[in-house]
Symmetry: C2
DNA sequence: GTCTATAGAAAGATAGAC
DNA sequence: GTCTATCTTTCTATAGAC
């Protein structure tokens, strides 16, 4: 396996971006503890030493991935109107799976003794608070957490057990059911 | 730190049980990858070498922990009547948190490349199938997976973000809300 | 700006003494 | 039946060559 010393013209910015993107995708699949810097570098097409070079450490890279992720209102939108249908769509549409990477990163890294703290802080800042702003009303944070719990649960279930059903007819009815559940989650207490 | 060579009279059965119990508790908190055999042995009050001695490997110990865990119908009961209230109670009652350890083990270990497969198989056998038996009707497996997703989501949310609220009044209304959501999850499609 | 080589730490597993 | 000592692997991080 001979190495051509990197085809990409030397460009710190591009290299850094490539590492960040690779880390984002890999952390979503395996979580902080199950992904190595070698693997990240390999996917980004660069050398492993550059990860430390540009981000300081794996931990700091992970924090940067969290910061670069979408905020809750990017995921669910900022309009309360039609929110439940939109999100139910997002959860079941295989085309949109990329949008759920940020949820998977949370899910798969929250048990880590190193990354766990950052993950927990990030959930509040990036998801619960924006959710609460969008849904408003009394006890908005409680209802926002409940909404977040539903999204987490559905995401992890699909990741671990596969899609709920292959039958388009069933999926359509399921989508409506999930929309109804989400409506119940955000309804004033 | 001088070591008294184990107070417990030499008893393979008791030692094995102690290791299994310690592993169960620790895997629930940290997941497969974040818990070492040294840590498990320490909590069990035995030497680390005995883990391999009695279980073969950490991986086999984990599989044994999965097998020894509760089945879905132990958690939700086998009566459809009153199920949603019972489970909502279980999710929010801090006294019952121990019952949710099996859910946390799933949650915190599913990303592991080693333990992930066993976890995924276990979800179906131990949770979705019993759930489907209890709730019955058309598309029982789809609805069972949806019920499981709700339980997973609420569990992980409480683990990562803390309890939804400290106010007993709010918690009571939230419990009712969760019961309503669960009812919607298992309702015929 | 990128890569090679390696230091240093931590974890799982095992042989053999007691 | 239990514990000590150690082997092997794997991973992060870094110094220094190119």
């Amino acid at each position: 396996m001979t190495k051509e010393p990197n085809v990409r013209r030397r460009d710190a910015g591009a290299t850094k971006a490539a590492i960040l993107e690779a880390a984002h995708a890999l952390f979503a699949r395996g979580g902080y503890e199950n992904v190595g810097v070698r693997e990240i570098a390999s996917k980004a097409g660069v050398d492993a030493a550059l990860v430390s070079r540009y981000f300081g450490s794996k931990e700091e890279l992970f924090a940067e991935v969290l910061r670069s992720g979408e905020r809750g209102d990017d995921v669910i939108g900022s309009e309360l109107d039609g929110l439940t249908d939109r999100v139910a769509d997002l959860m079941l549409d295989p085309e949109e799976k990329k949008s759920l990477d940020d949820i998977l990163i949370i899910l798969n890294s929250c048990a880590s003794p190193i990354a766990g703290r950052a993950v927990r802080d990030s959930i509040n800042e990036r998801f619960h608070c924006p959710f609460a702003s969008v849904i408003g009303g009394d006890h908005a944070m409680v209802r926002a957490q409940l909404l977040g719990a539903m999204l987490l649960g559905i995401s992890i279930s699909q990741q671990t057990s596969g899609d709920f059903s292959d039958d388009p007819e069933v999926r359509a009815r399921l989508k409506q059911r999930i929309a109804d559940i989400l409506a119940l989650a955000i309804k004033p207490l």
